[in-house]
């Protein structure tokens, strides 16, 4: 486990700037997404194996805690997709490395741009789901 300790410590010492941030974000997003993926396959399989259990899972997903989780998960997936595209594009066309700083910053900008409307709409769903303003 010394490897893990060293890695975490060196994250703060190694001044890799935007490239390091991009890498860390990619990995953090991956770990979060794969954890949710594992849970999500189990809860979705309840549709067949245990329909009542699926209803319980959905009730849980409607709770504020999971609403926050959703607000983290969706940007994570969007970032992982965009940054992943950057990685294979730059591997495919090595000439792009001349502009790696700009391309990485563009990746962050595109993530924010794509996430903003999605977050607003999801926030709207959440407020509607609270049922404080009628509807349902």
């Amino acid at each position: 486990m010394s490897g893990l300790f060293t890695t975490v410590r060196e994250v703060f010492r190694y001044q890799g700037r935007e490239g390091q941030v991009a890498w860390m974000g990619h990995r953090a997003a991956a770990l979060g997404t794969v954890l949710f993926f594992m849970i999500h396959i189990i809860d979705t399989s309840f549709v067949y194996f245990w329909p009542e259990g699926y209803q319980h899972a959905i009730a849980l997903y409607r709770s504020p805690l999971f609403a926050v989780g959703e607000m983290v998960l969706i940007p994570a997936v969007i970032y992982h997709a965009i940054n992943g595209t950057r990685i294979w594009l730059m591997d495919w066309k090595p000439g792009l490395w001349k502009y790696q700083r700009q391309i990485t910053l563009a990746t962050f900008a595109l993530t924010v741009l794509l996430c903003a409307p999605v977050m607003i709409i999801m926030g709207g769903h959440f407020i509607e789901g609270l049922g404080l303003f009628g509807g349902q």
Partner: protein, 138 residues
């Protein structure tokens, strides 16, 4: 043979076939997953939401149609292997003891196989009309 493989061959370096295939798989599945997952997010989280989704909705609006079952199966298998190979990569980075590294990777692989089988059985076995008597979401 690609230029890279050619260089390796001339240098007398053996290409590790598994690593090579795993690397290619991450790229290819990643590209395929982008439209699949963005479509999934748009339908499930933007157009609809967890406040709309429940047991009956999943069957009636989604799994009543074979197309959505194939769509979900493609996502399940592509993402399952993508996630498992990614986790293996992370384990290799942080766990330097070869035994622990192998044991953890094997555990990830076993759990992922279990999930893929679980998900596939659900996708194949789920009825095309909702079962009656399922209580609503509280």
């Amino acid at each position: 043979m690609s230029a890279v493989q050619d260089t390796f061959a001339r240098a007398g370096v053996q290409i590790n076939r598994f690593e090579s295939i795993a690397w290619r798989y991450m790229r290819l599945s990643g590209i395929l997953l982008i439209p699949l997952v963005f479509g999934h997010l748009a339908i499930m989280h933007v157009i609809n939401s967890v406040y709309v989704i429940d047991y009956e909705w999943v069957i009636e609006a989604r799994w009543a149609y074979l197309g959505w079952r194939i769509y979900d199966a493609a996502m399940l298998w592509l993402a399952g292997f993508h996630g498992a190979l990614g986790l293996r990569h992370v384990i290799k980075d942080y766990v330097h003891n070869p035994r622990w590294s192998f044991a953890l990777s094997a555990a990830v692989a076993a759990f992922m196989v279990f999930l893929l089988i679980l998900g596939s059985i659900a996708l194949i076995g789920a009825p095309f009309e909702p079962v009656t008597g399922v209580p609503p979401v509280e």
